[in-house]
Amino acid sequence: MGKGMKDNIIISIKGITKSFGGLKALMDVSFDVYEGEIYGIIGPNGSGKTTLINCITGFIRPDSGHVSFRGHDITHMPPHRIAHMGITRTFQIMRPYYSLPAFKNLIVPLWSPRARKTGGWRGGGKHGDRDTVAVDILEEIGFERDSRVPYKLASTLPTGYQKRLELARCIALRPEIIFCDEVFSGLSMSEIASMLPLIEKLKMDGITLIMVEHRLRELFRVADRVMALNFGEKIAEGYYSEVIEDKRVKEAYLGSEEV
């Protein structure tokens, strides 16, 4: 466990259930996340990981269950209100603002009420200032300031940079929790290797990360605790060594052996 971790719960999910038509996407999923930790959510395809994130961040209304953030019930808030409280997310399908250059993509979160409230820059919103902050954030996340990359159109960036841009968009909001929806998927080994320090740095900054991942090995290098989902049900939770040894998790990934 990370040394910066305190023992207070930052977000608590209780009994989230969601079904689409006849399909039960989530069944009574509950878990707590402590402040400052990296919490991993794993599971095979179609196990409801993205739906879970959508329910928590307000993009889908859960049928039942509660989400509380620092004691406030945020279950039925619209997404932008939840984001305003400091819970943001990346999207599995990256869609940057194609018609804008990469650094202008960050203008959107920087303009948001939350960033204007918490942002520490001069004047609080002069045109030039926001651009500078945007380039600063991009540099932090691995865009070379002096290269042309931050100024290129977002649609022309390679996948690795687009993933970073997604993360940068979250960071610009100065959030308390970031939900990362498969940030490693589609990246090469070297790109992942350069992403991992970023994740660790975010944790050092005190941001709680909840990561949905397929790439277990990379996830286990950074995650403090892990939860496993299968067919919308929570089947295991704990340290990764425990979870990976869990019989039901093995079954979910490898198929049942006793058939």
């Binding site: 689409f20 038509g21 993205t50 959508n54 993009f59 889908i60 599995q92 399908i93």
Partner: protein, 289 residues
């Protein structure tokens, strides 16, 4: 009693009008704003055959008119829509422009005044439940119900129909199974236009062939489809009954001026309460993932 009988007739009229629009949208996701224009075109072509060639048999004129409309629909897709498929804004503007061009072209070409009428299939009237109804309206009801049943059978038990449904449900998966998206779109536009034409030949004998009717048909078709949920069959029929009865009721208790107002208000209220329409698909899942 009168209200119920006329309500049913009106509702079936509305669903006949809007079936073509729903069919095209449900299969190829194309909003066919030229629907009303195709409706009037069919009527006009049938009229041309009837009046320019002496003694042209009426059923044959109808058949040719519908066939020509089908071809027009297919041509619209083959030469125009195929190039802008997927660009929603362009699709709307292009089909709307085509529809306008056809309608205003017909008006310019002389489709004005009250002289353009099609003969009814059978004159006379019968008395049902104390209400006098002429034969043509009865035919509308019968034909309407037959159309629903035939379309249901076509889409559930015919190879082409099943392919159309496959494309409607999951375009990519259907394409992998060897169903060509463009071909089905052409077929769907042809059938949709044909349905518009079919509705026209059944309904137009009740009134005049005028350009304004084209606009009204488009508006009613859209109203019904939006309220029922774009691309949903059951929704279309249910919505046409809702609007149909609402209109007859307003006509009975207020005045016929309000007919269109009721339809338009119904749209706005439906969208306020449930943006995807009564039977609209669950949009949430579709758009996020």
């Amino acid at each position: 009693m009168e209200i119920i009988v006329y309500g049913i007739i009106n509702s079936i009229t509305l669903s006949l009008i809007s079936l073509g629009f729903t069919l095209v949208y449900s299969i190829s996701r194309l909003p066919n704003f030229a629907h009303g224009a195709l409706y009037i075109t069919t009527g006009y072509i049938a009229w041309l055959f009837m009046n320019k060639f002496e003694g042209f048999p009426y059923p044959f004129a109808i058949f040719i008119a519908i066939a020509i409309t089908c071809i027009i629909g297919a041509l619209i897709y083959r030469f125009i829509l195929i190039r802008i498929r997927g660009m929603e804004i362009s699709e709307i503007i292009a089909t709307y422009a085509i529809g306008l061009a056809i309608l205003e072209g017909l008006r310019w070409g002389g489709l004005r005044g009250m002289t353009f009428t099609l003969p009814t299939f059978s004159a006379g009237s019968v008395n049902i439940l104390g209400t006098n109804i002429d034969h043509q309206r009865l035919i509308v009801v019968g034909v309407g119900i037959c159309t629903f049943i035939l379309l249901y059978l076509f889409t559930h038990f015919n190879k082409i129909g099943l392919a159309l449904r496959g494309i409607a449900q999951d375009e990519r998966a259907a394409m992998m199974l060897g169903i060509d998206s463009d071909t089905t779109a052409i077929i769907s536009l042809a059938i949709g236009s044909g349905l518009a034409g079919f509705a026209a030949v059944v309904l137009l004998p009740l009134g005049n062939i005028i350009v304004e009717a084209g606009y009204n048909v488009l508006i009613f078709a859209i109203a019904v489809c939006v309220i029922g949920g774009l691309g949903s069959w059951g929704g279309t029929i249910l919505a046409s009954f809702i609007i149909g009865f609402a209109q007859i009721l307003t006509e009975a208790f207020l005045s016929s001026h309000y007919q269109m107002v009721v339809a338009l208000l119904a749209i706005i209220i439906t969208l306020l309460i449930k943006p995807s329409g009564i039977f609209g698909k669950q949009k949430e899942l579709e758009e996020r993932v």
